[in-house]
Subunit: 233 residues, 4 copies
Amino acid sequence: MSSNFSELKAECYELNMEIPRRSLAIYTFGNVSIIDRDAGVFAIKPSGISYDDLKAEDIVIVDLESRTVEGPLNPSSDTRTHAVLYREFGLIGAVVHTHSTYAVGWAQALEPIVIYGTTHADHTVEDIPCTPPMPDDRIEGDYEEETGNQIVEHFRSLGLNPEEIEMVLVGSHGPFTWGKSGSRAVYNAVVLEELARMALITRQVNPDVSRLKEALRRKHYQRKHGPNAYYGQ
Amino acid sequence: MSSNFSELKAECYELNMEIPRRSLAIYTFGNVSIIDRDAGVFAIKPSGISYDDLKAEDIVIVDLESRTVEGPLNPSSDTRTHAVLYREFGLIGAVVHTHSTYAVGWAQALEPIVIYGTTHADHTVEDIPCTPPMPDDRIEGDYEEETGNQIVEHFRSLGLNPEEIEMVLVGSHGPFTWGKSGSRAVYNAVVLEELARMALITRQVNPDVSRLKEALRRKHYQRKHGPNAYYGQ
Amino acid sequence: MSSNFSELKAECYELNMEIPRRSLAIYTFGNVSIIDRDAGVFAIKPSGISYDDLKAEDIVIVDLESRTVEGPLNPSSDTRTHAVLYREFGLIGAVVHTHSTYAVGWAQALEPIVIYGTTHADHTVEDIPCTPPMPDDRIEGDYEEETGNQIVEHFRSLGLNPEEIEMVLVGSHGPFTWGKSGSRAVYNAVVLEELARMALITRQVNPDVSRLKEALRRKHYQRKHGPNAYYGQ
Amino acid sequence: MSSNFSELKAECYELNMEIPRRSLAIYTFGNVSIIDRDAGVFAIKPSGISYDDLKAEDIVIVDLESRTVEGPLNPSSDTRTHAVLYREFGLIGAVVHTHSTYAVGWAQALEPIVIYGTTHADHTVEDIPCTPPMPDDRIEGDYEEETGNQIVEHFRSLGLNPEEIEMVLVGSHGPFTWGKSGSRAVYNAVVLEELARMALITRQVNPDVSRLKEALRRKHYQRKHGPNAYYGQ
């Protein structure tokens, strides 16, 4: 069967398969999407299909209103959350949702992941935000769309820039990450899980530990992102 | 050697081998059975045989009174527990018993696994029940049959439906899961272990966390099971 | 090179290689020995050789006074501990010492592993004993011999039978296990690590949990070891 | 392309690849260097290159002032920290920096890893030191050089010998280890992570546990390092 989006589907398939390979989710949990901004569509995992059974041709192409453009399967039930993020965060190229164990633990605890060290600071110099519990009327409305809205509103209320903090915990639910590219968004999902694990261990060693000092946060930010950035090639 | 149940044995063997593959138990711990309701028999792992040594022809066929119908080996010492579940939960097709680490931890702690998030709510909107310690006279009676009775009675006393909650912790012992199919019952055993691990991490991050709010529990239930269910294909 | 003990060495080598394969120790940590009671010698891992480099011909044959009978390498520095156990526990056929993470955690905490559930009770119905810290004069004497003496004395002072409890924690150090056969001793080392992990998780879920009730301890003991034992083949 | 340092690069590459293989870091985290003291240069991982993509020819050769001697890529951003250690600790042959999870947890908690048992004592009889948070003016200066200076000053202020304690936690950051050879430095990184994990478990089992008694610390030191050392071959 011919497709106008076979490359996008193939890439989306490969990115989805990173999720079980990196132990970020089991069976059908989680989903990755990537956008073709010129075509105004994104590719996303179908709903309820196990990673063991997933094939590239199962990937669904939808538009930014979450309407299916190509593919016989239903897209992920989280599709409308991805669509909100693509509409509101105009520079991102991919979105990853997992149920990775430690990130879910913090999300269920309704706590942002406090920045305790430089591993965290190398990725963002803020705590990883955690959205508050969703009000009942929004849960009973368009729940998945409202999940996206919650992320966007929470970033705005805290004055956070989604190009600088590419990860969030949805309270009582779990992590979403994004990035300019699909590989960056997956990378962020792996890093987030590791930061969640390190932060819990830190507290277990020393329950009275304080967050990373301001000068170190500033330094690590500038080392990677400042005018004289000197990390990488 | 010819058998009237070679297909049932082969399937039961494959399901049992998922237990070590999914890291749900070591050596001889745990056992999976599947029922052929028309024939009135179920297939189950033999007692005390290590997964490393297990072969399809070792699987034992027993009737619903736990009498061996075919096979030279003794069936699992937990056979009578499985038999009770098949007799009392008339729609289930398979039963899985493991000693997965975190589920055993909660069972030994004599605590139900509290529902803290949507990963849990996607599978059941109640806490995972944990049976109370068995009274001494029942321990000294037909212990494995009483283990099954305890599960059934605990579900009845809490008004729980075994088609909606396909998992339980037997207090001081460990998890049992079931499902319409063998693969569903194994899936539930994997999910239960993950929920047990997430719930402990959640409490470690925030010991004062409350259980998932009612509106989210209702929403996730309806998303998968309600009249307008929209999860999956 | 010809050897009178090539079979014993080959078996000892295979048992030692189970230690890294089962993630019970890294690099050179840990050691397994097996005894040939008729010949009055036992085979043991050489000292300071990494599992990656170990070969069957490196295995050292020593007598019950720990004098090398065959092999150019030094035997494990724990050899005299093994020798004491073989002399004092006359029915055991193999000894395993590991530095498995959770068992070491309990040993360093100087606490016996409390029996909280049936996984534990299927192996022993007592807590896993932990020897007290060694008095200074014994540390400064024949330290490895005294480690063996401590195990033996601790078993005697508690009235424990080494055929019924095939595992111990040496306080501030780590686990030793044994058994009639080499495979049983390794099995016990794997089980001990799992019991250590489950017991800690149990306490983390419920710090006020009590030990397993007496009737369940008795039942599980009799199921495997009583006159009407019905577990296994 | 011909190189004067192809052997050094090849060895450095292999050592770096041990980092992901031993699960000590993900993606680009961490770096290993080895020195050629005669040539006055050391080989180190390039900055921001993922282990998945790393090739032997990417390894950068720098002098002890961290100036690139050979290679088109930027050396690790931690290069100046390594250089300080090579200059100040004159007998070490290799340096390893990882972001291993438990060691980072202790470093972020700003706590030295207390010596609780003999696994620790077999490697060093002191707590694993943890440098205090860096003063702001040093963070804003030559940060990576100051990280090295902090390690050296902390060792001097505690009177520690870098040939006897081959590992340190940099507070709020993570572990550095070293050794005479590259394989020893990597070994130390693996051991440090295991000691960090064991020490946390020890405290979780018994929050009131004391550090290892003096006589055992002395004994294990002498067993490996004393005039009558009898560990190994």
